[in-house]
Amino acid sequence: MQPTAVIKKVAPKDAKLAMANMYVAFIALLLGGLAGLLQVLVRSGEFTIPGGIKIGYYQVLTVHGVLLGLILTTFFIMGFQIAAVSRTAGPLTDKQRLMGWIGFWLMTIGTAAAATMVLLNKATVLYTFYAPLKAHWIFYLGLTLVVVGSWLLCAPQIMKFVEWRKANKGETSPLLTFMAVVNSVLWITATLGVAVEVLVQLLPWSLGLIERVDVLLSRTLFWYFGHALVYFWLLPAYMAWYAIVPKIIGAKIFSDSLARLSFMLFLIFSVPVGIHHQLTEPGIDGFWKFTQVVLTFFVIIPSLMTAFSLFATFELRGRELGGKGVLGWFKKLPWGDSRFLLPFIGMVTFIPGGAGGIVNASYQMNQLIHNTIWVTGHFHLTVATTVVLTFFGVAFWLIPHLTGRVLTPVLNKLGIYIGVLWTTGMLIMSGSMHIAGLLGAPRRSDFSTYGGSEQAYDWISYQIAQAVGGTILFLAIILITYMIIQLAFFAPKGEEEFPVAELAPGAEKTPAILENFKVWGVILVALILFAYSMPLIDIISNSPLGSKGYSPW
């Protein structure tokens, strides 16, 4: 026993910073979810946004994408990671915490600014803000503040890690802190692309300082960021699966080195792959598109490692509890614990989610589903089920831990209902999106019969199913909002554990190379240069007359 060396709690001052991020995240979930509900209802063709409210379908779509894809995720992840670092590497210094608070306020002001412009119908550009659709400059500035703010929240995590390493020479760093740092490095690397796009192209263009913008260049910079973004969402879920869920079920970490290796592989294979989002676009050579397809597929390797490692953990624990036979261990897992059940469902939905992702990235196969609602169905399985259910599972213990309350049995049960409701709604909605997408229904479109076409008529029944699924999801969002309010303000006072799993006894020491950010950084930069130099040189030297802006809404 070493009671002094083990940090059991998130320091109260860090807890405040983490909670601030959580509040914004769950407000974004409620508002973004409402926008999602309006969308599925309108697209079913059975409902129109009441005439008095002057808000258009694509405006709602922009709100939904920005609030859920960018705001909910970024705030939640920053809150979770700050808490995880504080819990495992020790409290932030006053300077680090101040930096975090400045970051939080920049993000919040940026969000409010961007949201205002969307509501004024000055920025109906969807969350991908593809040029030459031109939003008001305040929208771009707002998103810039969100990104810069997030950097200021990443910096203290990295500083804390460096500090810990200096103080504990030769020792293996705490796994959760290490993982948070990998994700922060990934985020900073990825957002550089969108920062260049916004600062050099879109912002001066919307301010009228430059007249034209290179559309293909802006898209390529966007997707350099845009694909890594999905790993930025996913890695915190992996943090929970690798390092937290085992503790909840009473198991040990299967392999510390394996976990670290998979995180480093995610880091190096998440950025140099963005062009697989641009497979059907002109102006990029087939050879380079294919190269990035190959690099995209490498990310399957750490996913396989994760799947193996996690199910090995579950099986070992189930057998320890007396599970017999091939699948007897499965029954022994704590299915009544919402902190386990929701992340577990998340992991399982990642199997079809990942398989769909393979189809999306598969060069020629992409042509059948590119920009169809299949893609929407895909990321509602990955980010909106896998990641979000895991985040919910985390919030159920993290929020009471941070506010000094407990997850009561009644609230735990509510958590289970939310998980079941969410899964049901998402399976109906995402399932029908996948099918309609295979039949050709486009994504990002209002309700339309396309001039009474027979094909479009076939899509409508699936759109009605989407509305049913979306309505169930919104019910789940109302319940989760209630639950978060309870956990933050009304649940009984007490000590809720921040679970952190320990290494299996007799585990081998983690090789130092896995923590050497210099080595992995060099590989990352080399891969990015390899994958992007030629396409970018090509795009710039072959560039047509740039495009003026359009605001057709």
């Binding site: 030459p132 659709l133 676009e281 490692s309 196969m365 050709g440 359009y550």
Partner: protein, 166 residues
């Protein structure tokens, strides 16, 4: 680093299927030439109407090329020119398309014909139309309020069948 025995099997099997899959995609692309749109031709998007072939949109029969028909198509907010495309069953068709303003999609629903049309670039795709029928063409990239009203029709016509009906 210690790697568990089953973990090794699992990784070898997983990576093996991955490599096999990529080889199949690669053969499709570089041996059979099945590439998605990769045209690098550029155009002044503000003068599309004056520049060949876009000064004459429509379906054109061509001789002495690898394909039989060229479909020249101009997209703009919120319509396609031509509004209806008619090609004979079994012919090899080259789609040549561009946009006059924002980004549009050119997706023939339920087929592999799926192109992004970006201002300043010409998009191209060659395919054999081997199933008769009427296919809805939709814009699948958000381009403004009229986006979901933007559509046209590709008719793949069996010429022999028409003769029989008469």
């Amino acid at each position: 680093m210690h790697i568990h025995k089953y973990e090794k099997w699992w990784l070898v099997f997983g990576c093996g299927t991955l490599v096999a899959f990529l080889i199949i995609l690669g053969i499709g692309a570089f041996h059979n030439g099945a590439h998605p749109n990769e045209s690098k031709q550029t155009i002044n998007y503000e003068k599309v109407d004056e520049i060949a072939p876009f000064d004459n949109p429509g379906v054109h029969k061509v001789e002495g090329k690898e394909w039989d028909y060229e479909v020249v198509l101009v997209a703009s907010m919120f319509n396609y020119n031509p509004a209806v495309i008619e090609v004979p069953l079994g012919s090899k068709v080259k789609f040549i398309a561009t946009t006059k303003d924002a980004i549009h999609g050119f997706q023939v629903a339920g087929t592999n014909i799926n192109l992004m049309l970006e201002p300043g670039y010409i998009s191209e795709y060659v395919t054999v139309v081997n199933q008769a029928g009427e296919y809805l063409v939709v814009c699948n990239e958000y381009c403004g309020t009229g986006h979901s009203m933007m559509h046209s029709m590709l008719k793949v016509v069996d010429e022999n069948a028409i003769v029989d009906n008469r």
